[in-house]
Symmetry: D2
Subunit: 298 residues, 4 copies
């Protein structure tokens, strides 16, 4: 159902802190122009938890207007199941094509609670769901065993695999075959994940470097692994910026430098400053200086 | 300003999931009867993140009606600074005596962001603040260095020390003397913390065992350490239930058995079940069977 | 210099606890028959730290007698630098082709100490060295920066990459190009490591399943990744046994079942027993029941 | 049997790297003069694993010559059980009063292996044993359950509690009453451990500051907790140097500054240098500048 490169897009703000839909239209459009296969809005990278529900729905509508029929997924990540269900319902009504669902943003659910929450969200939204498994960020592990338990409900169609352990991808295939579309959610494990069978990449640095991200995916799909690996090695210093507490600020700085966007974030986040900003900026500039020409692909 | 035993009270729900103010009035009253020195509402234990802001304010008002003039603190714990400030403002307007503030519930703020957030909440609420330092639960460490940076604002009056490392208490005294009231926030480190100079205990199992909690604190204050230690050793198997992902469910089960309350929680939480419930119940029953008579104290 | 499949062989003991050279000759021979590219003796898997230096040298000689001219590496892993140098010297004199070197088995060296120790061992043995980088087991990280510092000494020729983080392999290539032969030391990350450019596999389960291990390596070398991946997926439940505190016992049990060897280990290790043994045995038997026919390769 | 302050003494080396028995005689003597209750030789702090067995025995004899009849314990910490037993036997023959035993220095024993190893060492040495429980350094946790299993053998008389979690002390008392003498092995948790009932302190900074260490212990024993706590707060910046990968170098630098000894260590250790040395030296000097007068005690 879902495969290829799915950007987890950043949200854009005006100087007064309100949503900047024009800039989102421009930036989301760059993703689609580069050949991305859909858009995921209001995730961690999209600062969803810092927005009201009305704002999240507005971002989703902007994405839909740009996506040219390709799927737009709303992120469901809230403290309470009640709030998660509300997001799911509102997103469905407003035309989302699917949901990317975190069991709980605050409480660490046990296995039974994880399953119950995911099922409640599926009931509430009645949309196809990508299960977001990220035991590092959320301290809840949606394990292959839980994926198997959820498999009887056809609305659960995909896994965003962000365990930070590349072994997990093979474990999912060994347990569940191709029941789920497995997409990697960790930028600097993407080549490895695609090499062992992942069908897609929920990407972060793609926001600033959409063509390179798409090229790696497409080259691998065509069996041109050596070319993809060369590109990935170049890309790695940038991809590492996605695996950081400060991924939002890192990627917005990359967007500022690579696609002329801005670094505005919502509090408590602040833009990078001082030595950290210098270090990240120099990583980005160094990579851009040796930015490789992209090979042609199908 | 704040010292002694401050219960972080649980919230009570009716069968239909709505707030049960009668039961809260009863349970909060047991705390005050036992000699507690105030109440803290809508923390982790109070399931604050699972409630609307209106509900949190209602719980706070119920606590105020029971506290007999002793301080009632509202917990400020939200994803965005905007929402944190809104809670602070509403709580102040509604009559809270102080705030217990977590820098951010979701994002891991860096030092500058931590300070900025705490200052923004102080501005918004203009109430005395207990800084909640809990690097384990929130992955943000409000260090003694940050406490020092915040010290120039007199609204920051207390620290809830929940680093899970008893060494930290002495580090705060060594750096800041008695600038802050240091209260321990970890039930099964409470004796140790009071032994090295903490002036209070933000307590959890107190919800089910208020008299024993108060007795340990008062005995130590009177220099009767051996008696306090004997009581603490008895209490330890119960206090351990506070240091758990399932502390809310654990403590509500203890309340059900010890003070006749109920175990209702809000999703995604579910009451304990199966082997886990049996194990916790047997710990509670075993402790209650050998519940010691309390010595008289001043 | 070194590439392909290099088994980290187990040592074999008689019932009285002494070395069983006949059984080692037989088992090491199975490795060479299957097409392995050398042998590494007296590592963790070889229980080197449980043997006297004389015993280690004897095991090395037995390996040399079997290896048919392919390289035999002695593991250098001791508490003190003095002892490490003694092992290196004795191994060189006795005919070892190279050394696999752990900076320190007990103390966690800082960067300067790590470099100094590795250089001291190189001086003492004057043999080609594979640097064993395993921050999990030894809590010392031989980082790419340290590899760069050591690069001026031509005796450091290879890296056994066992950081447990597949990202590290690409980091080494990005920093050092092909200065070092990079071999993966983690069985259940081997496909991924070879996919991103590792030239060899210091293998564990190879002791029990030499042909399958060699087949995966050779197929990938021939660009037949899909066939290799299918084999690797089958192999994964076994390869996981290498990433365990009990890897020696796990692999010896696999050897007992797959190549008719025995499970004897030296104290404090004991053979697996009880539920653990049942679980591991059932993993091994389950895999052997669906053992795939191997495709022909060059 | 054992209680009070037991220094884990450092070993002293001449410029040529050989043992400096004269300096050990002097330094061990300072410990006894200050009122320490015994000596423990060849532990981590004593660089035991960097010495030959003959050297360890020689250090033990030097300690015996100085201890004036107070107990001298030999540390048993080796990779193999065979080697552990050899140390125990040799130490017993040479006149050690007891053994401090680590289950295994390299391999992480499971519960059955931990018990078997400790029993084997008890058989071999037939001396009273202090079980060294340090799950941080050795990744083997000798839990209260295992202590209970070992309790039937009267040779196991004491616990060196170094779990880094102060809760453990109370857990031992709650499970085993006073079956074992519980001594804390973590300098900067010592006040807390003694406050909850530990009967002794296996100390590190005592090497450089014997009188202050003894004063804290004795004052607490006399119920003069406030005086002890004031001293402990002063001492904390120094005691923190014991909880470090570089504890040997830290404490030897403290000995150089406070008792005129030297910083020589055995490779792979090197003395502190650069910024680290400056930082540690300034901590030591700052504490010495405000070194308090010690109160008189019994």
């Amino acid at each position: 159902m879902w495969s290829g490169v799915l950007p987890a897009v950043t949200s854009k703000f005006k100087e007064d802190g309100s949503l900047d839909h024009d800039e989102m239209t421009r930036c989301f459009g760059l993703q689609m122009d580069a050949g991305c296969d859909g858009l995921i809005v209001c995730g961690s990278l999209g600062e969803g938890p810092m927005m009201t529900l009305d704002e999240r729905i507005a971002v989703m509508r902007t994405a839909k207007a740009v996506s040219g029929g390709k799927p737009v997924l709303m992120t469901v990540a809230a403290a309470s199941t009640r709030e998660s269900c509300e997001i799911a319902q509102r997103a469905a009504t407003a035309g989302a094509d699917g949901l990317m669902v975190v069991p709980s943003l605050v409480y660490q659910t046990n296995d039974a609670e994880t399953v119950a929450t995911l099922r409640a969200v599926a009931e509430a939204g009645d949309l196809p769901i990508m299960i977001y498994s990220n035991k590092i960020a959320y301290r809840v592990d949606v394990t292959p065993a839980l994926m198997e338990e959820l498999a009887s409900d056809k609305r659960f169609v995909a896994i965003k695999e962000s365990s930070d352990d590349i072994r997990r991808t093979t474990e999912i295939f060994n347990r569940l075959g191709d029941r789920y579309a497995v997409l990697t959610g960790v930028d600097n494990l993407a080549y490895e994940a695609l090499a062992v069978g992942a069908v897609g990449w929920v990407a972060g640095l793609v926001c600033a470097f959409p063509k390179e991200t798409v090229a790696i995916y497409r080259l691998m799909k065509e069996g041109r692994n050596a070319e993809a690996l060369a590109l990935y090695r170049w890309f790695r210093s940038l991809l590492d910026l996605d695996v950081s507490t400060y991924l939002v600020q890192n990627i917005k700085l990359a967007e500022a430098l690579a696609i002329g966007s801005n670094e505005r974030v919502r509090a408590p986040r602040q833009p990078l400053s001082g030595e950290t900003r210098k270090r990240v900026e120099s990583i980005i500039r160094a990579a851009m200086e040796v930015r490789p020409a992209l090979p042609a692909f199908g």
